[in-house]
C-alpha cells in the first residue's frame, strides 16, 4: 500500500532474448499476495517497451529480471531509458548478479539488486522502499 491506501503498482519484465520467466512469475505472485498490483510484461522486452508500458501503466516501480550476464550493460541502459523519458521510477534488478557488480549497478542508479534465493519478504520490503523513495507515485 502507498501512504494514501492504494496498492503499489509495479511492472515486471525480462529484458533480452534468453530463457524462461518461471522465477519472475513466482515474484509476481508474491507481490500480488503482498497487496501489489503487478503489471506483468513477461519475456523479450526492450528498454523502450518497458518505458512505454511504465508510462501508460503509471507504475511506481520497475522490476527487471536478467539471467544472461548482460546486467552491466542492460541495467544501466534501463535506468538511462527511464531517465531519458523524464520518468522518476526506481529500477530493481533481479537475477544472477555477481556481488562485485552490485556497487557498479547501484552507482549507475539501480535502486537495488536481488539475487536468486532472496527471501520473498526481502523482495516485498525492497519494492515498498523503492515505491516510498519515488515521490511521483502517489496522487
Amino acid at each position: 500500500m502507498t501512504p494514501d491506501g492504494l496498492p503499489i503498482r509495479i511492472l515486471l519484465a525480462k529484458l533480452g532474448f534468453d530463457g524462461h520467466d518461471r522465477g519472475l512469475k513466482v515474484i509476481a505472485r508474491s507481490l500480488r499476495d503482498a497487496g501489489c498490483e503487478v503489471v506483468y510484461l513477461g519475456l523479450r522486452q526492450t528498454t523502450e517497451s518497458v518505458v512505454i508500458a511504465a508510462e501508460q501503466e503509471d507504475v511506481a516501480v520497475i522490476g527487471i529480471s536478467m539471467h544472461n550476464a548482460g546486467h552491466l550493460t542492460l541495467g544501466p541502459m534501463m535506468v538511462q531509458a527511464v531517465a531519458d523519458a523524464g520518468l522518476d521510477i526506481p529500477v530493481i534488478i533481479g537475477g544472477i548478479v555477481p556481488a562485485a557488480d552490485v556497487p557498479t549497478l547501484k552507482a549507475a542508479g539501480i535502486f537495488d539488486v536481488l539475487g536468486p534465493g532472496t527471501p520473498l519478504e526481502t523482495v516485498v520490503a525492497t519494492v515498498h522502499a523503492a515505491a516510498a523513495a519515488h515521490p511521483g507515485s502517489s496522487v
Binding site: 496498492p7 500480488r32 498490483e37 501508460q56 501503466e57 503509471d58 496522487v139
Partner: protein
Amino acid sequence: MSEGGAPDALLAEATAGSRRALGRLITIAESGGPSADALDRAMVGRPGPGWIVGIVGAPGVGKSTLTGRLAAGAAGGRPAEGAPRVAVIAVDPSSPLTGGAILGDRIRMQGLGDPRDVFVRSMAHRGAAGGLAGAVPIAVRVLGAVGVEVVIVETVGVGQIELEIVHVADTVIAALSAGWGDAIQASKAGLLEVADLLVVNKADRHGAADAVRDLEQMLDAGTATALGPDETWRPPVLTTVATAGTGVAELWTAATAHRAWLIATDRLARRRDDRRRHEIGRRAIDILAHEVDQRVAALGPTAAAATPEEAARRVVRQVRAGGD
C-alpha cells in the same frame, strides 16, 4: 510534467500526446475520492470517446489476444500528433484477500505491434466499490477527453463483473472458445444476455462449428421470447483464430455494423443516457451506504427495545433529515 493534482495541466499534456500525463490521469481516475472528483469536474463539457467496445468472456478464451488484434486494426498506426486514436483498458480481478492483482493481459496483446500506437492500461477491479462501475467510466471519460476515439474494455467474465460491462460499453462482444466449453456454459454465465456480438475464438481447435451451431440455436430460442417486436438486432456469431488474426477483420466489421445500427435507431444516445443514470445511481447508493454505516456504528446498545427493522427505519429517518 506537472505532478499530482492539477487536472487541467495534465489534460492538456495528455491531449498533446504525453503518455505519462495520460497514465497519471488514469491513476487519478481509478483512485477515486476528491482528486478523481476534481478531475471529473475538469472534464465536464469535453467529448467522450466516439465508441466504447466491451470484450467479455471466461479467463483463457483469448480476449487479450483478440483485443490486441482488434486495437491494432482499429488504430491503423499512430496519428502524427496528440493521443493515440485507440485505447485499451484491460480489467482483471483483485485478490479479495490481499487487494493485490496480477495484470497479465499485456503479454497476450502481441498483435498490437508498436506499443506507441495504442494506449493500453491494465486495471485491477479493486472490489465492488471502486470496480468496473466506479473507475472504468471515469477512465473512459479521460480517454475521450484527451482525444481517444475508440476505447476497448476487456473484462474477465466472472460473476457480476461480466454483467457490469453493459454499463460501460456501447457494443459488447462476448467471447468464448472452442476449447473452453460449450455454448451452454456461456449461456449459464449470462453472456448471451449482454452480448451484441458473439465470437467463438480458437476456431483452429476442434469444436468451433459445434459451438457456433449451439449458440445460433439458443439465439433462435431466445428470439421468440426475449426480443420484442422492435428489436431488429440479432447478435451475429463469428469465429476467430486470434493468435493468427483470422476472422478478426470480419469481427471488427460486424462490430462496426452494430455501432451503425445503434446510431440509426437512436439507441446509442439512449444507451449512454442509461449508463449515466446507472453510474449516478451507483454513486448515490455509495454515498448513502457510507452515511448509513456511520450512523449504524454510532448507535447505542442494539439489543434494547427497538427491533432491527425499527432501528433501521430510525437510521433512515436520520439520514434523510441530515441531522441527528
